[in-house]
Amino acid sequence: MAFLVLAAMLWFSAYETLIPLSETLVAVLPVDRASHLGGALQFFFYDTPKVLLLLTGIVFVMGVVHTFVSPERTRAMLSGKRLGVGNVMSASLGIVTPFCSCSAVPLFIGFLQAGVPLGVTFSFLISAPMVNEVALALLLGMFGWKVAALYLVLGLAVAIAAGVVIGKLGMEDHLEDWVRDMQYSQATSVGDVSALHWGERIDSGVSHVRSIVGKVWPYIIAGIALGAGIHGYVPEDFMASITGKDAPWWSVPAAIAIGVPIYANAAGIIPIVEALMDKGAALGTVLAFMMSVIALSAPEMIILRKVLKPRLIATFAGVVALGILLVGYVFNAVL
C-alpha cells in the first residue's frame, strides 16, 4: 500500500512540472521560442513525457484490473446471454478483459463453445481491440477527457450495434465447419484468478506497464516527433482543405478505406492524428480513421478467415465499417 501512495505522489508531482520543464528546456537551447522550430520543440518536450506518464498510470491500473477479470470469467458471465443485454455486457467487458490480438481466434471459439451467442461474441471481438487502455490513455493525454470519453462511448456503440446486427442476421452457418463441430465440446478452464493477493496484483500491474509501455514508447516518441514536425511546419489550410469541416462528403469513407490496410497500434497512430486535428482536420473524420486503423485490419481478417467463411467476414467488415462511417458523419455534423 505504501508503495502505491508513494508512486501516486511521484506521478502527480512529475505531471505538475511538465509545462515549466518543457519551456525551460527550449529556453536553454539556442532556438527562438517563437520560431517554428521552437514551437515544435516545446510541443515535443511537453507532449512526450506527458503522454508517457498518463500511459504508465493507466496501463498500471489496467494491469491490476486484469487480475480480477480473466477471459474464462468473462466467458462464464456471457454464457447464454440474449442479444441486446448480452451485447452491452460483452462490449463493456471487452474493455477490461486482458486481450491480445494473437489470441483472438482461440477466444472466439472458446466463447462459442461455452454457449455465448455469435452476435454477443462479435461485440466482444470488436470492442476488445478498439476500446483499449492504450488508445484511451493517449486520447486523454493529447485531446483531453471529452474526446477520450466520446471515443469510449462511440467505440462501445459500434461494437454493440455491429454485434446485434450480426446476431440478427443469423449467420451461424457461415462459421467454418470444424468450428461448428467444436461448439458443443467440453471446455476446460484453467487457473482461478480470485486467489491472488494484493502483492501479486500490483506485480501484475508493474509487469503490464513493463510489457506495454516498454513496447510502445518508441512509436510514441516517433509519432510525437512527426506530430511536432507537422505542428511547426505544415500550413494549416493544407490539411483543413482535405479533411476539415467543409471537406467533401467522401472524406469520411476515404479515411476509413485508408485505415484498413494500415496495421498500427493506437500508440503509433494517435500522435499523427493529433497533429492532423491541430491543423484543422474534422474530429469525426479523424476518429473514423483511427477506429478503422485499430478495428479493421487486413492481418486480423486473414486470421479470422481460419474460423469464418468469406461471407461472414465480409459481413463483419461491412457492418463495422458502416458503424464507423456513421460515427464519422455524426461527429462532423454535431461539432
Partner: protein, 79 residues
C-alpha cells in the same frame, strides 16, 4: 521424460515461453521433450482460450501469458 507442449499461434509471447523452457531446462540440466502447438484446431482441443498455454504430460497447467520463471522452475523440478 517430461513432455511439454506450448500452445500458441506464433506470437512473440509464445516464442518467449518456449525460450524460457529451453533455458530453464538447460540450466537445471533436465531433458525435456518440448513441442510447439501452433494449429488453432489443436490448441482448441485443449480448451485453452488465451495463449500462450502450457501443457505438461497432456495436462493444461497454464494459460494466458508467459509463465513466470519460478513457475517453470517448479514444473521442471518435478521432472
Amino acid at each position: 521424460m517430461m513432455n511439454i507442449q506450448v500452445l500458441g499461434t506464433g506470437c512473440a509471447n509464445c516464442k518467449n515461453t518456449v525460450k524460457l523452457f529451453e533455458e530453464v531446462a538447460r540450466v537445471r540440466g533436465v531433458t525435456i521433450q518440448l513441442a510447439k502447438v501452433e494449429e488453432i484446431k489443436d490448441i482448441m482441443k485443449f480448451g485453452v482460450m488465451s495463449t500462450p498455454g502450457v501443457v505438461i504430460d497432456g495436462k493444461v497447467v497454464h494459460a494466458g501469458g508467459v509463465p513466470t520463471r519460478e513457475k517453470v522452475e517448479q514444473w521442471l523440478a518435478g521432472a
